[in-house]
């Protein structure tokens, strides 16, 4: 299910403003890649270009290519709606649909393509997805209760279950733990480690310990000054980045000298 991702000379604009410039990176299948860097350096913006979610903002556009397994996401004829099916996303704050039950939340994406999914298939899928998100045991007795009644950490795992249920090839996570307490954070980190066996995962995080704990490779984004575009400074094995980074800026950031 998981695929290699290649971004080549990617420039991201908001109107005439160049937000992120010249990103070239390659992401291995079935690995966790963490993107770190100071606020406003464009790591979230870059993440959103991987499933074309940035297009929600009017005036946003992209130059360069993003290939998944050799298929350019920005080629003419590619539909952003279809892209988002293949590349799932989990957001900074848990966002289950407040008017839907837990089970309906899990099925929300699936129902878009398959209205007439039969009851037992649906139940199986709910269970599988919730198990995959380590949430099954906590909610199996209240699947018909609203998803907004869960704790923040459970809601975030519900969102992961919802993303996983449509069987994407890639999973993007945009600071998935920034709104959670330490224990919930740990649960999500464990989950990421498990999901790695079937999905290519890219996670944006502000927390360097988290990057060190969960990722195989780490990319460092930076911007020289306000108003300048953000750039990918370097990307390497996580161990290398945190012990012997290739660039001075990376070392400064990791050792806490700024940002």
């Amino acid at each position: 299910m998981s695929q290699r991702i290649e971004a080549k000379d990617l420039n991201i604009y908001y109107g005439s403003f160049l937000a992120v410039a010249g990103v070239t990176m390659s992401i291995e299948p079935r690995s966790v890649t963490a993107l770190i860097g100071p606020s406003g350096c464009g790591k979230s913006t870059f993440l959103r270009t991987l499933n074309r979610m940035h297009e929600v903002i009017p005036g946003a556009r992209v130059e360069g290519t993003v290939d998944i397994d050799g298929v350019d996401l920005y080629a003419p004829g590619v539909d952003p709606v279809a892209v988002r099916r293949q590349v799932g996303m989990v957001f900074q704050r848990p966002n289950p649909f407040p008017t839907m039950s837990i089970a309906e939340n899990v099925l929300a994406g699936v129902r878009l393509n398959n209205r007439r999914i039969n009851k037992s298939d649906a139940a199986d899928l709910v269970e599988q997805s919730l198990r995959a998100a380590n949430l099954w045991n906590e909610v199996k007795d209240r699947l018909d209760r609203p998803g907004s009644g869960l704790s923040g950490g459970q809601q975030q795992r519900l969102c992961i279950a919802r993303a996983v249920a449509v069987r994407p090839r890639v999973l993007l996570m945009d600071e998935p733990c920034s709104a959670l307490d330490p224990i919930s954070t740990l649960a999500i980190e464990d989950l990421v480690a498990e999901l790695k066996s079937s999905y290519t995962i890219i996670i944006v995080t502000h927390n360097m310990q988290q990057a060190a704990r969960v990722s195989d490779r780490t990319g460092f984004f930076n911007l020289e000054e306000a108003g300048q575009p953000g750039r990918l400074v370097e990307i390497d094995d996580t161990a290398t980045i945190f012990s012997t980074p290739g660039k001075q800026a990376t070392e400064d950031y990791i050792s806490g000298r700024f940002g």
């Binding site: 290699r4 070239t24 998944i68 397994d69 279809a82 099916r85 990307i235 390497d236």
Partner: protein, 323 residues
């Protein structure tokens, strides 16, 4: 692993998967896609549909009303005008509208403003909640009921009669909640720092309210009042039953019928077509309709001017305090 160059090597996925992906990326279920397109069309159509009456109405009023809207129309009453005479104007109606609405503003602005002051600066507990609720409810009073109320009020006090002031009371009932709502909003925008700074210097509360709070919010308050006036100036139904109609100028709001612009439109329309004697020189069969359209245009121009000036006031003079 260190060599993360741009060309994919090593674990290249099987070719078949790549083609599957290509297919998956370029195709959304056609049914879903069609539905999406159809709904977009529906939404665009809904908007266009709403523009049709607006454009048609504005065009009708402009094209049919502008012919007769001139200085003569604005400066003459309907006194001694009858039949299809090519004469007569809306001067008495414009005057009546200004007087009746002016008195309505005179009644409702102080009350509305004080209610807003009460709600923002003093109001707590049950009374404040009741007032808020009732102001909301008051915005929903049908205008004809407000007219009946004013009629009933004066009927009990001075017996059955018509006068401009009765219409003013009816309009005031409709206008007050609008003034309260907008003023309340404006007063809440005044930052608490201003009040606290004033109290800290020993300025009593009432003076703080008048000199600091109301002074700061004055542009917003003016805008709110003008919009409220614009809202009631076109009211017709309550004026038909409280102020009545007349062909002559009446400057006395306390006695006798008055003509007002909206009622003038209604009255002229109701007169219908005039039959002209064959070969009559000074006779226009559609004269009543023409006057109705011209008066409608005058009314719309007044309402739009009020709205524009109100917006201008809020844009140019409002201190943009933080909410």
């Amino acid at each position: 692993m260190a060599a993360t160059d741009t060309t994919a090597t090593g674990t290249a996925p099987p070719v078949g998967t790549s083609e599957d992906l290509q297919a998956a990326l370029s195709r959304v279920d056609p049914v879903r896609k069609r539905k999406d397109r159809a709904m977009r069309l529906v939404v665009y159509l809904a908007f266009t549909l709403a523009m049709v009456p607006l454009v048609s109405l504005v065009w009708s009023v402009l094209s049919r009303g502008s012919g007769r809207l001139d200085a003569y129309f604005l400066l003459h009453s309907m006194r001694n005008v009858f039949g299809g005479m090519d004469a007569g104007g809306a001067y008495h109606a414009i005057l009546g509208t200004l007087l009746v609405t002016g008195w309505a503003a005179l009644i409702s602005v102080p009350i509305g403003l004080m209610v807003a002051v009460y709600l923002v600066e003093y109001g707590t507990g049950k009374l404040a909640r009741a007032v808020t609720f009732l102001v909301d409810v008051m915005t929903g009073i049908p205008s004809i009921v407000a007219g009946l109320f004013a009629f009933a009020l004066f009927y009990l006090a001075v017996g059955p009669q018509k006068a401009g002031i009765i219409g003013s009371v009816a309009l005031a009932v409709l206008m007050t909640p609008v003034v309260v709502r907008s003023s309340e909003e404006m007063l809440r925008l005044v930052p608490n720092e201003l009040r606290e700074a004033s109290y800290a210097l020993g300025v009593p509360k009432w003076l703080t309210i008048i000199k600091v709070v109301l002074r700061t919010a004055v542009a917003g308050l003016t805008t709110g009042v003008m919009i409220a006036v614009a809202r009631v100036i076109g009211e017709t139904a309550p004026l038909i039953i409280t102020v009545g109609m007349t062909a002559s100028i009446n400057r006395d709001v306390f006695h006798e019928n008055m003509m007002t612009l909206p009622v003038f439109v209604y009255d002229q329309y109701g007169r219908g077509l005039t039959s002209c004697a064959p070969g009559a020189v000074d006779c226009v069969p559609t004269i009543n309709f023409d006057r109705a359209w011209a008066a409608a245009l005058t009314l719309i121009i007044i309402v739009m001017l009020l709205n524009l000036v109100a917006r201008a006031v809020s844009r140019w003079f409002a201190p943009k305090v933080r909410g």
